[in-house]
Symmetry: C2
Subunit: 214 residues, 2 copies
């Protein structure tokens, strides 16, 4: 059943395309060429055309892409036409920021519940999201939950993930600086800010060295 396999690198760019396109549509733009779009998202226009081509012919030669139509397509592909419910575990500094933000409007992803081990936090509400005690996680029906956001301390991440797994969750966005050991049918993505900053510093220092050698 064809639809040639979509490369990982392509899949990871789709959410960026989706959001940038959303902004274009909001601003009333009805068409865009791959090269103009490339300037916005800072990706080569050939790469963009090739990415879209995995899904068939989405554009029109000599014209470009209809923003509305393309947005619609990406919305479906990214499952943004139905609400994706996620939970958040660990309402500390970072968890609180995420709850307050809660993926803003125009984005069909919502944090529907939060959990923390601290009884003082349980019962409260942040950004309209209620905080529950960690113990309740196992007792809740989580069959409609797509993923869990993990914002607990590093030493607690593995156990928190396991508790979430036991309640049926199969996807994690892990903000803690440890790699989780989970079964292969569980999907984990890492957001690792310390690593990002150190990589930035490395590249800055090394590009400076290169210049000095010239």
């Amino acid at each position: 059943m064809a639809t040639q396999r979509v490369p990982q690198a392509t899949a990871e760019r789709l959410p960026l395309y989706y959001r940038s396109l959303q902004r274009l549509v909001d601003n009333g733009k009805t068409r865009i060429s791959s090269s103009d779009f490339g300037k916005i998202v800072q990706i080569d226009s050939t790469t963009i055309r090739k990415d879209f081509s995995y899904f068939g012919a989405l554009g029109r030669k000599g014209y470009g892409y209809n923003t509305q139509h393309l947005l619609e397509f990406l919305r479906k592909t990214l499952y943004q036409d139905e609400l994706s419910k996620v939970i958040l575990i660990g309402v500390g500094h970072l968890g609180t920021a995420l709850l307050n933000h809660n993926f803003e409007r125009n984005n069909n992803t919502r944090i529907v519940r939060a959990y923390d081990i601290n009884p003082e936090k349980a019962g409260k509400e942040i950004g309209g999201t209620k905080i529950h005690l960690m113990d309740e996680l196992a007792k809740t029906d989580n069959s409609d939950i797509t993923a869990a956001i993990l914002t607990v301390p590093a030493e607690r991440a593995q156990e928190a993930a396991e508790q979430a797994m036991a309640s049926g969750i199969r996807g994690f966005l892990n903000f803690s600086p440890v790699r989780l050991t989970l079964p292969p049918d569980v999907y984990v993505r890492h957001v690792d800010m310390t690593v990002e900053l150190q990589a930035l510093i490395y590249f800055l220092n090394h590009s400076m060295e290169e210049k000095q050698n010239k």
Copy 2:
């Protein structure tokens, strides 16, 4: 001067190696094989050996790697033996979380100043870091600052980056969901949590489909 060019992919893994190794040394482990290390960081052992090989022979055949020695090497390579000072721009929900966290101990990166446009925030202190009014950014000597963390709203990110640039900053860790347009000698890394979550959801849904087709 030899030291064969280090691939980008390798460079981006170094901070993870560094931190994982730090944990091993903290726990008193004195040696580790690439395959055991691979299990910890969840990277193929061949990839790890090849990564290290770009820097010369860091291990010993039949023995593995001396954790202390390797950590030392990575510390130098990542410039973690000297303090890297960074500033933070935009003390909102996310900025506050980052200030409170401030890259914890054992990490020679420090947020030394914060800036916000809101006069009510200026003058205060969060996590020991003083908040200044945005206007002061241009007046400050930032020659010792390595990079700026950008946690301002999307619509303000470009102008905030330009102000930081004007004061001499050449590296950015951008948490806002826009691609910055900056000169080529400026280095920008993006941390885009919305994109990460959407990618996670995409992969979750698609791996389920694949299973159904089997």
